[in-house]
């Protein structure tokens, strides 16, 4: 079965970010979204450790390790950047000042619950800023493969893993579809044209609802 690559999922998520939006991208895969801003649009990227308005990674050898993002990767500054301390940074997060936060997920429930920080009691637990981000940004979106590596659905009726937040996710961009979460239901907005509704439902762990037309999810090679 054909599906979108991670880069293509990131590309699709980037199309919904408006010019001038304040955006926080989770560590790892979500960071890829920054590369796909549509021409003519410029988002302002926030990193929890206290920078607003940062740009791409510096060239190798040009890193300044006092200038990093939440993933501890070296970054650069764009004109109009600002530094601030951690309490101010999370005031931005918790206070609803970010337009969108994009995170990865282990599981997303039809209730909007998100599990993305812990796979269970084994090992060293680490949460970082995820629990703050899901309750702060005006819009909390998830990008993820539609199913796990073993083929199990990641969109489910109820999360089984430890929760990051309750009722916080409003849109999920997957390798197969774009799905809104509204009123405790998964509402299908876009799906790969090569796939039938029933095929998509079969790999989704909760009922998919329709509310208006479903568009084709068409993403360029990126």
């Amino acid at each position: 079965m054909t599906k979108l690559s991670n880069a293509q999922i990131a590309w699709r998520a980037a199309q919904d970010i408006h010019d001038g939006a304040y955006v926080n991208l989770g560590i790892g895969f979500p960071e890829m979204v920054a590369k796909f801003q549509p021409p003519g649009r410029q988002a302002v990227f926030h990193t929890e450790n206290g920078v607003l308005g940062f740009g791409e990674a510096p060239a190798p050898g040009e890193e300044d390790w006092d200038l990093i993002n939440a993933g501890k990767k070296a970054i650069t500054l764009k004109p109009g950047a600002a530094f601030f301390h951690h309490a101010d940074s999370f005031a931005m997060v918790r206070g609803g000042h970010l337009d969108v936060a994009i995170l990865g997920a282990y599981e997303v429930a039809e209730t909007g619950d998100l599990a993305n920080w812990s796979t269970g009691p084994k090992g060293v637990p680490a949460v970082g800023g995820a629990m703050d981000l899901v309750h702060g940004a005006k819009r909390v979106a998830v990008i993820t493969d539609h199913v796990t590596k073993t083929g199990a659905p990641k969109l489910v009726e109820r999360c089984t893993l430890p929760l990051t937040g309750v009722g916080c996710v409003t849109r999920v961009y997957t390798s197969l579809a774009v799905i809104d979460i509204e009123g405790g239901r998964l509402v299908l907005r876009e799906k790969l044209p090569s796939m039938s509704f029933d095929e998509l439902q079969a790999v989704t762990g909760a009922k998919l609802h329709l509310d208006g037309p479903v568009s084709d999810l068409i993403v360029p090679e990126v």
């Binding site: 010019d19 001038g20 304040y22 410029q42 302002v44 926030h46 920078v51 607003l52 308005g53 500054l77 764009k78 004109p79 109009g80 950047a81 600002a82 530094f83 601030f84 309490a87 101010d88 999370f90 005031a91 931005m92 997060v93 918790r94 206070g95 609803g96 000042h97 970010l98 309750h135 702060g136």
Partner: protein
């Protein structure tokens, strides 16, 4: 991305009747006189906005700025810590006649409630005002043997602020003690409108020196050589001008 607007009139055009408006400044330092007077000008021309709730440390001085706003009858309620000034007559008369409501808040609690509003903290505990009339009716809790009062966040529909430099993305610096409430009010309002003495290109302000990051700012309008409320009052100014 460019948050500039051309005129103070445009900057205050959307404030509706009944809005809650935080206004920066402590006494005359930081008072956004031109924005306030533009709001009064709009009211004189259109009858709106009225029934405002205004949040400021004080309640106006003389007959300019917030005092003029009150004098025009645009303000239904003041939230402040110290509604006194060198010439507090405008507020005093309306308060004593019952035309304006007052919510009196200790200054530090006022600041913290505003910061909480901007930081997504709906309530917090403070030792301030415990056992006093200003704590009446508020929940009290004991932590490590000491009593604290629970206070709620304070938010606003609009903030009207004055800053020194503002870049087109809304990053701000202030001038000396005129900073006072502006950085926290910028956080706590749904829409933050700032008059800046100089609008500059992004990159002009050192990222280390930004006091209010642009994420907290919606609109900037350049007002070069802004009026200073204290200086206006010392010159006996009225707004609108009184013609003999």
């Amino acid at each position: 991305m460019d948050k500039r607007i051309a005129s103070v009139e445009g900057a205050v055009a959307d404030i509706p009747d009944g809005a809650t408006v935080m206004i920066g400044g402590f006494g005359g330092s930081g008072a956004p006189i031109e924005l306030i007077h533009a709001l009064i000008g709009r009211f004189l021309a259109t009858g709106s906005p009225k029934n405002l709730t205004v949040i400021n440390n004080n309640a106006g001085n003389g007959h300019v700025g917030i005092a003029a706003l009150i004098e025009q009858g645009m303000v239904r309620k003041m939230v402040c810590s110290f509604p006194r000034s060198a010439d507090p007559r405008v507020f005093t008369e309306k308060y004593l006649s019952g035309e304006i409501e007052l919510e009196l808040v200790p200054q530090g609690t006022l600041a913290e409630r505003i910061r909480a509003g901007g930081a997504g903290i709906p309530a917090f505990f403070t030792p301030t005002s415990f056992g006093t009339d200003l704590a009446k009716g508020k929940p009290v809790e004991v932590f490590e043997g000491r009593s604290y009062v629970m206070e709620r966040w304070l938010k606003a529909d609009f903030a009207l602020l004055k800053a020194e430099l503002g870049d087109f993305y809304g990053n701000l610096t202030y001038r000396m003690a005129a900073r006072n409430f502006a950085p926290i009010m910028a956080m706590a309002a749904a829409r933050t409108v700032v008059q800046v003495s100089r609008a500059v290109e992004p990159g002009t302000i050192d990222p280390e020196a930004v006091i209010t990051p642009g994420i907290f700012v919606d609109t900037i309008v350049e007002v070069a050589d802004p009026a200073q409320e204290e200086a206006l009052n010392r010159a006996g100014a009225h707004y609108p001008e009184v013609t003999a």
